[in-house]
C-alpha cells in the first residue's frame, strides 16, 4: 500500500501576513524530514524566517521554486508520510472552519489587491478572465482597463458628454436656508421665493419665514417667538410681515454700518435731454411699457458699473471678488412699510426700453409678493431712488456684501449754465456710497463721471 502523502504549505507567520516568498529550500526530494525540522526559508513583509515542518516524512516533489511569492496556505511541496499513523490528521486536510481570503483558490489569474478588485467591479470586469502583467502575475490597473476597454468600446461613446465645467467665477449665490426654517415654511405654506434671508451669507432663518407667512398656520406646540402678553390682540399678517421686513433691513443695515468703512461722493446731472427723449419714446410705446424716469438712472448705473468693474462685486474673506455681470439691486418699498431689494440680472446688456420694462415688472411683483427666490439675491450694485418722495439728496447705506450704492434724488428745475448761457434745466443729485476697503475715491469718481456722461447722451442709453 503506497505511503500516504501530505502537502507542506506556506505557513501563516504573523497576524497581518497574506502571502510569502519562498527564498530557499533546505531539503531536496528524497530527504528524510523529522517533526519540527527546519525545511525552508521564507520572506515576509517583515523578515526572513526559517520554516519548520510539523510532520515527519520523506520529501517527494518540490512544487514552488525559490523566488516565487504565494499566498498563505498554498502547497509548497509534497512529502510521503512516515511514522505512527495515530499522528493527528495532516493539517491541510482539516477543513478550514472559516474560509479566509488567502485560502480561496483563484483560477489562473494572479493575485489582485482590493483597489484592483474595486476598479474591476466599477468597470464590470471579471478578474478571473484577466491576465496579470504585474510582478508575480499580479493584475495591474492597466490590465483591468484594457479588459474593460476591449469588452465594450461602445459603452465609452454612450457615456453622457461631461457637463461643461461651472464657470470659474462663483455662480450667483443661491439662498441657504436653516433646516427648521425650511420645515416651518412647508408647515405654514410659505413660498420660499418670497423670503429675504437675514442669516449669515443671506441664509433664510425662521424669523424670515415667519415674516413671510401670510396666514400663520397653527404652529406645533412650540410657543410663538414674538409671543405678546395676552392683552395685545394678535397683529394681522401684513403688519407682521412689515415687522419682519423691518427686522431684516435693520440687521442688514446694522451689519453694514458696523463692518463697511463708507466713503461718499456727490454730483449733479443735467437730465433735461434724457427726459425729453423718453417723453418722445413714451408717445409711441404702449402705456404698460412707458419708460419711467427712474429707469434712466438704472441704465446709466449699469453702463458705469460695467466700465468701472472695481465697484461691481462682493467683499468676502477680506478681499474683493469682482462679478462677471452687473446685477442691479432695486430697493422697493412695500405698501404698509418695509423694504425688499430684488435684483435685475445682467442689466448691462439691456437697452433702456427693455430695462425699464424689466424694472416695472420686478418692482410690481415685489410689491405683491410674487418674486422668485433667485431674484432676491445676487445683486452686485444697488441703486436707491428717493426722488419720488421729494428727497433731493440721499447718501445710502451699502448692502453687504456689495461694495457700492448709487443714490438718486428728485429731479428738480434749476438755473443752469449751458454753453455760457443761463437757462432752466432739469437736474438730479446723484451720490455714490462706496466701501473704502474695496476702492478709493478716484475709482468712485470715475463711476459717477461715466454715469453722468451717459445720461447726457440719451440716444445711446
Amino acid at each position: 500500500m503506497a505511503a500516504e502523502t501530505f502537502e507542506f504549505t506556506m505557513p501563516s507567520l504573523g497576524a497581518d501576513m497574506d502571502e510569502g516568498k519562498l527564498v530557499e529550500w533546505l531539503v531536496k526530494p528524497g530527504d528524510q524530514v523529522a517533526k519540527g525540522d527546519i525545511v525552508a526559508v521564507v520572506e515576509t513583509a517583515k523578515a526572513i524566517m526559517e520554516v519548520e515542518c510539523f510532520r515527519a516524512g520523506v520529501v517527494q516533489q518540490i512544487i514552488v521554486e525559490p523566488g516565487t511569492t504565494v499566498p498563505v496556505g498554498a502547497p509548497l511541496a509534497t512529502l510521503a508520510a512516515v511514522g505512527a499513523p495515530a499522528e493527528a490528521p495532516p493539517v491541510a486536510e482539516v477543513l478550514p472552519a472559516v474560509p479566509t481570503e488567502a485560502m480561496r483558490p483563484e483560477h489562473h489569474a494572479g493575485p489582485s489587491g482590493p483597489l484592483i478588485r474595486r476598479l474591476a467591479d466599477q468597470l464590470g470586469v471579471d478578474l478571473t478572465t484577466v491576465q496579470g502583467t504585474g510582478s508575480g502575475g499580479a493584475i495591474t490597473r492597466a490590465d483591468v482597463r484594457r479588459a474593460a476597454g476591449e469588452r465594450a468600446p461602445a459603452a465609452a461613446a454612450a457615456a453622457p458628454p461631461r457637463a461643461t465645467p461651472p464657470s470659474p467665477q462663483r455662480a450667483a449665490r443661491v439662498a441657504n436656508i436653516s433646516p427648521y426654517a425650511r420645515e416651518l415654511a412647508e408647515r405654514l405654506g410659505v413660498d420660499l421665493g418670497t423670503v429675504q434671508g437675514t442669516g449669515r451669507g443671506g441664509a433664510i432663518r425662521v424669523d424670515d419665514v415667519r415674516a413671510a407667512a401670510v396666514a400663520p398656520a397653527p404652529e406645533a406646540a412650540a410657543p410663538e417667538r414674538y409671543e405678546r402678553p395676552a392683552t395685545v390682540e394678535e397683529p394681522d399678517a401684513a403688519t407682521r410681515r412689515a415687522e419682519a421686513a423691518r427686522l431684516t433691513t435693520a440687521r442688514l443695515m446694522a451689519r453694514s454700518k458696523r463692518e463697511i468703512p463708507h466713503y461718499y461722493l456727490r454730483t449733479t446731472v443735467d437730465v433735461t435731454n434724457a427726459l425729453a427723449w423718453i417723453r418722445d419714446r413714451n408717445r409711441e410705446l404702449p402705456v404698460a411699457e412707458r419708460i419711467l424716469p427712474a429707469a434712466l438712472f438704472l441704465r446709466a448705473t449699469a453702463i458705469a458699473a460695467d466700465q468701472v468693474p472695481a465697484l461691481n462685486g462682493f467683499w468676502e474673506d477680506d478681499h474683493f471678488v469682482p462679478s462677471p455681470s452687473v446685477n442691479l439691486g432695486v430697493p422697493v418699498s412695500l405698501r404698509g412699510g418695509g423694504l425688499i431689494t430684488p435684483a435685475i440680472a445682467d442689466a448691462a446688456g439691456l437697452k433702456l426700453p427693455e430695462l425699464a420694462v424689466r424694472m416695472r415688472d420686478l418692482a410690481t411683483r415685489a410689491k405683491t409678493g410674487r418674486l422668485r427666490g433667485s431674484e432676491l439675491t445676487g445683486a452686485t450694485i444697488t441703486v436707491t431712488n428717493l426722488g419720488d418722495l421729494g428727497v433731493e439728496l440721499v447718501y445710502g447705506v451699502i448692502y453687504p456684501p456689495q461694495v457700492a450704492l448709487v443714490g438718486v434724488g428728485r429731479i428738480v428745475e434749476r438755473p443752469w449754465a449751458v454753453d455760457g448761457l443761463l437757462g432752466i434745466r432739469s437736474v438730479a443729485t446723484v451720490t455714490l456710497s462706496a466701501d473704502h476697503r474695496a476702492s478709493d475715491g478716484a475709482t468712485g469718481a470715475r463711476l459717477l463721471d461715466v454715469l453722468g456722461r451717459s445720461l447726457s447722451q440719451p440716444q445711446n442709453l
Binding site: 504549505t9 501563516s12 510539523f54 493527528a88 493539517v91 478550514p96 488567502a102
Partner: protein, 320 residues
C-alpha cells in the same frame, strides 16, 4: 514526594508542552490568529508554582499564560476554543490567547500590558488582608516587567502593607528581543527585589521539583502572615517570543545549551533513574495527552461563534 505526585507533575508539563506545539501548527494554518506567545521550555514554573497553591487562591498572569491556565485546571477545550475565538472559550471567545479568564477558578486572566497585572494582584491581596484572610494571590510576570514603573510601585505597596502576594518572576532572560543584560543595570533580579524589604531568592526554573519546593516555602511564609515574597524563577523559552518573531537576537548555541535542561526531559530522566517511570508509562501518558488534545481541537472547531447581536453585552453589567 511520592512517585504518584511526580507522575502528576510530568502529566501537567506534558499537557502544556503538547498543547503549545499544537498551537504553533494551528497558527501556521491560520486557525489561531492575532498574537501567540508559547510557553515551551518554561513548563516547570507553572506546574511547580501553581502546584503549591490551593484551588481558591487567585492567580494573575501575563500574555504567555497557556501553561498557567492549564496548570490551574482551566479545561483544555475551553482554552483551545478561546484560541479559536469561539463562544465556548473560557472568555466567551472575546479574549483570545492573551486574555484567558476563569472566575470560578480564580484565574484573573492574562494581561497584554507588560506589568499591567501587578497592581491587580496587590489589590486582590489587599481585599483578602482587609478581611483578615492570608489567602495567597500569585502574580506571574516576566523579567521585562521588572523594568516597568508598575513593578516598583506594586512591590513597594504590597510590602509596605504586608499583603499576601507571591511575586513569581519568570526570568526567561529575554524581554522580547532584548537580552536581560541590555535592559537591567542589576541583572540579579532577586537581589534587586530584596531591596524592597521582602524575602526574595532565585530558583532553578527548569527543575520542577526545585520550583515546587521553593513555592511551597514562599506560600507558607505568606499564609503565616509574613507578607509578600518574591521568587526569581530562572528559565528559558525554546521558541521565539511570538509566532511573528524571527528570533535572530539569540544565537543557536545558547538555545541548544538550555535545551539540554529541558524541564520535561529532566523529570523523565530523574523518575527513570528512581525507577518510577518506564517506557510503557510514558507512552500511556503521551497517548492520554494526545487524545485530550484531539478532543480539544475538535471541540474548538465545532464551537459556535458568539452572535454579533451580543457585541455590546457586558460593556456594562446587565441589570438583573
Amino acid at each position: 514526594m511520592s512517585a504518584k505526585h511526580r507522575q502528576e507533575l510530568l502529566r501537567q508539563m506534558l499537557r502544556i508542552r503538547r498543547f503549545e506545539e499544537r498551537c504553533a501548527e494551528l497558527y501556521s494554518a491560520t486557525k489561531i490568529r492575532g498574537f501567540l506567545h508559547l510557553y515551551v521550555g518554561e513548563e516547570a514554573v507553572a506546574t511547580g508554582v501553581i502546584g503549591a497553591l490551593r484551588p481558591d487562591e487567585p492567580i494573575v498572569s501575563t500574555y504567555r499564560e497557556h501553561g498557567h491556565a492549564l496548570a490551574r485546571g482551566v479545561p483544555m477545550d475551553a482554552v483551545m476554543a478561546e484560541m479559536y475565538g469561539r463562544s465556548t472559550g473560557c472568555s466567551r471567545g472575546r479574549g483570545g490567547s492573551m486574555h484567558l479568564f476563569d472566575a470560578d477558578r480564580h484565574f484573573y486572566g492574562g494581561n497584554a500590558i507588560v506589568g499591567g497585572g501587578l497592581p491587580l494582584a496587590v489589590g486582590l491581596g489587599l481585599a483578602d488582608a482587609m478581611r483578615g484572610s492570608h489567602r495567597v494571590t500569585t502574580c506571574f510576570f516576566g523579567d521585562g516587567a521588572v523594568a516597568e514603573g508598575e513593578f516598583h510601585e506594586s512591590v513597594n505597596l504590597a510590602t509596605l502593607w504586608q499583603l499576601p502576594v507571591l511575586f513569581a518572576c519568570e526570568n526567561n532572560h529575554y524581554a522580547m528581543g532584548t537580552a536581560l543584560a541590555r535592559s537591567h543595570a542589576q541583572t540579579d533580579l532577586a537581589l534587586r527585589a530584596a531591596s524592597y524589604g521582602l524575602p526574595a531568592w532565585p530558583v532553578d526554573g527548569m527543575d520542577v521539583l526545585a520550583v515546587e519546593d521553593s513555592a511551597q516555602r514562599a506560600v507558607e511564609i505568606i499564609r503565616a502572615g509574613g507578607g509578600p515574597v518574591f521568587l526569581e524563577l530562572r528559565t528559558y523559552r525554546f521558541r521565539a517570543h511570538s509566532m511573528y518573531d524571527p528570533d535572530r537576537y539569540r544565537d543557536k548555541a545558547e538555545v541548544e545549551q538550555w535545551r539540554q535542561r529541558d524541564p520535561v526531559e529532566l523529570l523523565v530522566t530523574r523518575m527513570r533513574s528512581d525507577g518510577e517511570l518506564d517506557d510503557g508509562d510514558l507512552e500511556a501518558l503521551d497517548r492520554e495527552v494526545a487524545e485530550e488534545l484531539v478532543r480539544a481541537v475538535e471541540a474548538a472547531e465545532a464551537g459556535p461563534l458568539e452572535p454579533v447581536e451580543d457585541l455590546t453585552r457586558f460593556v456594562y453589567s446587565e441589570r438583573s
